[in-house]
């Protein structure tokens, strides 16, 4: 039953992701066309969420900003996962000396406050997606390294793995069949949380004005842009707020479901 839950989560996420990322190609979304005469109009048939201060369609901007933020989050966390897991597995396999060294390095990175790095990069490189990707990837990879190394070390000492080694199976095979699946299962939990936190970081930087440049639509920046108009255009302000909230909530719940499921599978 648990397996079905996980598959349900991942399946739905992929479906939704494909839909959202594919939307700009199917629908006639126009996130940049301005119409200064129709600034801050309420919802209507042509503009279901109203227009922003430059007369642009809020719904289109929302739907175009989503894939961008999600894309950045996915790339950043994906990079962190691959890089971190590699380091962690290396540490687990490479012997005590390399293990200690790599783990010291990991600890050092853990001692860095996450948002500080992203802020510094964004502030000094002038905003845009690159500092976000680098900064988020850098602040997340240590968790994956730590986790995968600990799991891998635990598994390697398992009787069935020892048996495989004695039977002469290549280490690579052991790795992919017995170690990797369990490592990845745990990593997915952190990854899901990481994506959620990445989206929060991206929108926080957009809010501070250190995020992406105009006219690029981005949820956090949209909130800052439209906040002065809260009393006359509440829907336009609420829309990106809800977008951020629902997306992060989705990933938070997903990671909880994955965590529950993974807890039942870890060998003791």
């Amino acid at each position: 039953m648990r397996q079905r839950t996980v598959r349900a989560w991942i399946g739905t996420s992929c479906f939704l992701g494909a839909v959202i990322i594919g939307l700009p190609f199917w629908l006639p979304l126009d996130a940049t066309s301005q119409n200064l005469q129709f600034s801050l109009q309420g919802p209507s048939w042509s503009n279901p969420l109203g227009t922003d201060h430059l007369g642009r369609d809020v719904l289109s901007r929302l739907l175009q900003g989503g894939p961008r933020s999600l894309g950045i989050a996915l790339i950043a966390v994906g990079t962190a996962t691959i890089f971190g897991t590699t380091i962690g597995l290396l540490a687990a396999y490479a012997g005590r000396w390399a293990d200690a060294l790599l783990m010291r390095l990991t600890d050092l990175m853990l001692a860095f406050p996450g948002i500080l790095l992203v802020l510094l990069l964004a502030g000094l490189l002038g905003g845009g997606p690159l500092p976000l990707i680098i900064g988020i990837a850098f602040s997340h990879w240590p968790q994956f390294a730590r986790l995968s190394r600990n799991i891998a070390i635990g598994i390697i000492q398992e009787p069935q793995v020892e048996a495989s080694q004695i039977a002469g199976l290549s280490p690579l095979l052991i790795l992919s069949r017995q170690v990797l699946p369990l490592v990845l299962q745990q990593c997915v939990v952190i990854a899901a949380l990481g994506i959620g936190s990445a989206i929060m970081t991206i929108s926080a930087l957009g809010f501070l004005g250190l995020g992406m440049q105009p006219p690029t639509p981005e949820w956090g920046a949209m909130i800052t842009e439209l906040l002065p108009y809260l009393d006359v255009a509440p829907i336009q302000v609420a829309a990106p707020c809800f977008a951020v909230f629902l997306t992060v909530l989705w990933f938070t719940l997903m990671s909880q479901a994955l965590a529950d499921q993974a807890a039942n599978r870890v060998p003791t």
């Binding site: 783990m103 001692a111 406050p113 500080l116 802020l119 964004a122 959620g196 906040l227 938070t252």
Partner: protein, 316 residues
């Protein structure tokens, strides 16, 4: 003793963090496009007031024309002696500015932290003592909701309701205790979901555990059993996490301070980033990074004190 080794290792880490941050900041500034001296001049005297002569004066003053390696050595040397230079914008010593800011941030952090535990403890303990009950399930839902709201959204919501609609609190400032309430609440709310969950899990585990049953056998009431035997064991993960949360606050206070115009380290950093005030950027990063490492050290020490079995994993 192992404890000293732990302290030594963590302090070394803190120093290393500081070193890396200092170097990183320096490197980034050098690869920035454009003329630093010009930028500083405009930041300092304002757009309407800068002149070419002023730029040259500042270029000389900040010794920006010397070879890079020498500038780096200069910078590292002054950092080591606690001299973080003078702000390019205000010309006051960075350390002076940061000490004031750090004081304000510290105040806010402690109050937010205490507040969050004042709320989290009763809720978490109650939910833990009645797992899967109504309160437990509700707090789980609320917790997930709160955890998905970025702190600036929470802050904006609080301002809209309590400042603009109800007029209970002032929107910005730092002078009176009234000014502290909303920022502290915003930060506390950001810590709540995780701490409530940890407390609840710790309590519910303890509740069902072996030694609790044993205590009940001895004839103690549920309450006394918990107080005498349960708390100690429940406390370990809770306190560990609590110490770590002080560090988590770092993420939150940058946004919250900016939102509420609260003159702490976070606001100083954002302002310096927007104004390219390099000494303050470097100084803030150093202070924040080092404080973060020290708080982590303190957290590790607390863990080890409470449960000496944890020493091994902490040291490795």
């Amino acid at each position: 003793m192992a404890v000293f080794y732990l302290i030594f290792q963590r302090l070394g880490q803190a120093a290393l963090v500081a070193f890396v941050l200092a170097t990183l900041s320096f490197v980034f500034i050098q690869i920035l496009p454009g003329d630093i001296a010009l930028r500083i001049t405009v930041a300092r005297v304002g757009i309407d007031q800068a002149s070419a002569l002023e730029v040259e004066r500042i270029r000389e003053q900040a010794s920006l024309s010397r070879p890079m390696l020498l500038q780096y050595a200069d910078w590292m040397r002054s950092v080591a002696t606690g001299n973080l230079g003078r702000s390019f914008v205000s010309d006051r010593p960075v350390s002076e500015e940061l000490v004031t800011a750090a004081g304000y941030t510290f105040r806010l952090a402690i109050i937010a932290w205490v507040l969050s535990y004042l709320i989290a403890l009763p809720i978490g303990i109650y939910a833990g003592l009645r797992p899967n009950g109504f309160l437990d399930r509700m707090t789980a839902v609320l917790g997930a909701t709160l955890a998905s709201l970025p702190s600036f959204l929470v802050g904006i919501g609080l301002i809209s309701v309590f400042v603009l609609m109800l007029r209970w609190f002032p929107p910005a400032g730092y002078r009176t205790s009234a000014h502290l309430v909303l920022p502290a609440v915003t930060l506390a709310l950001s810590l709540l979901p995780a701490s409530v969950r940890i407390i609840r899990n710790a309590v519910s585990e303890v509740r069902a555990s072996f030694y609790m049953t044993f205590a009940r056998f001895k004839g103690l009431t549920r309450f006394r059993a918990f107080r005498d035997h349960g708390v100690r064991n429940a406390a370990i993960p809770v306190v560990t996490f609590a110490a770590l949360q002080l560090a988590f606050l770092m993420d939150g206070f940058v946004v919250v301070e900016t939102l509420f115009n609260y003159p702490g380290l976070g606001e100083a950093l954002v302002k310096a980033l927007l104004a390219r005030d390099i000494p303050v950027i470097m100084g803030c990063s150093l202070v924040i990074g080092t404080l973060y490492a020290i708080v982590n050290l303190a957290a590790d020490l607390v863990v080890v004190k409470l449960d000496p079995r944890r020493m091994e994993s902490a040291v490795l």
